[in-house]
Amino acid sequence: MPDLTLLYNLAGHLLPFDCMQAAFMRQALVGLLLLAPMAGAMGTQVVNFRMAFFSDAISHSAFAGVAIGLLLSISPQWTMPVFGMLVGVGIMAARRHSALSSDTIIGVFFSAVVAFGLAVVSRDRGVARDLQRFLYGDILTITDAEILGLIALAAAMAAFQFWGYNRMLYIGLNAELAKAHRVAVAAYQYLFAALLSLVVIFSVWAVGVFLVTALLIVPAAAARNFARSAGSMFWWATLVSVSSAVVGLLISAQPWARTATGATMALVAAAWFVLSAVVARGRGERPS
């Protein structure tokens, strides 16, 4: 496995605070600096596609991913992302081929994967206790392997956002129109579902099932209020997401705070959103 010490030391130099002397804080910072921009960028598309409930369903599939790992004696580090991706692509396929509303289809998948996961893990009380990690997240225990996974995902995500950002915007505005004008709508939608599922599962490790939506949706919603164009919306979402993650990490490590990192990050993002709504109101626009 490649040595990531240099990367961690660089992160320590970036933020020369006392709390950043600890190795686990540096690892957490690197993890967040990889995850937050992805969540910010994908969040704008989740909001454009009105898929907040979709990301909720994927995050809750984490239970089932753990359960499958238990059943097959495979590490959840593998089963969670693979199962999450399958659920994401499955939901997208059902949405495209069913007359049922999108919410109903996601609701069916959501219920089934949560029920399956809980049914399996409820048989083993020891595992049920471990599930707390997935409920609340724990970025401070991120491992080298997970950081390498995030680096690979960030590379794939950068390629997707470079190649597909404009077309995803087109599809988000009106898929029929995009398809009529020769945009490969289905290919983009499936790729988006697969990548979003992976970002959501990594976010579950960082902030927990409860707060994944906050990491995706809140920066994107704030970005809509700040931005005056589609290009600037991307940068605003990235700025809000990264700053919320970094400031949240630093605050949570302070002796006077001692709060959960994921929850603190979500609170900082929420503060950004309030500020953005004030700015939008000041410009005479109706805030998102």
């Binding site: 454009n48 290009g231 109706r286």
Partner: protein, 258 residues
Amino acid sequence: MAQTAGASVTFENVTVRLDGVTILDNVNVSAPPGKRSAIVGPNGAGKTTFLLALLGQVPHSGTIRIAVEGGRPVRIGYVPQRLAFDRGLPVTALEFMLMGRQRLPLWLGRRHAHVERARGWLAAVEADHLERRRIGALSGGETQRMLLALALQEEPDLLILDEPAAGVDLNGEHVFCELLEKLRRDRGFTQLMVSHDLATVTRHSDWVICLNRQVVAEGTPRQALTRATLTAIYGPHMGLADIHELFHHKDCDGSCRT
């Protein structure tokens, strides 16, 4: 702006069934190349489904042929009835034009060549002054012109319009049709438009297809829009209106309606 001879469109025994309901029943019809064809019919006649089948967006049986001289792939431009979109999305009219043409992501900037071309199309539909406006803040007429610019940007052989002037006032509709006619004369594309407004159809089409799940009549406006045809597709009350008055008022200022 490249010239085209326009595409020809032929439907042979086309049937569309959705959820057990027959929307189009054995439709046999054609639209001549380079001409303005209009599709008329009552609500539920299958007009929009006809267009969606043409666009390959609903499954159908039978054969739909779209062809241009030389056998190259046909370019299609589509103007939907109304753009159902999230009005809170911060996309400017210029970005709207670029998102289907430019590969460089908008967050890294805009390519000069694409911007100039997009501005040219916006100017062609007299919407160049809108380029910095958010699309959610545009009026119905402005949105339709922007959608027309987006469709023309495809340099289409076939331009499909689904009630493009729905929700626009009478004068706006007239201006839109006049603009469309000027562009079609310049570019030569085949135009296929669904319209509810018989006055617009008589004034702005060369070929009319009367549809009520099946083709009831087709021909020039005078041939197709007879009292008998209109009674057959709209019901007996339509017979009270003298369709020939529409032809007498063909030079009206756009305020004539049935």
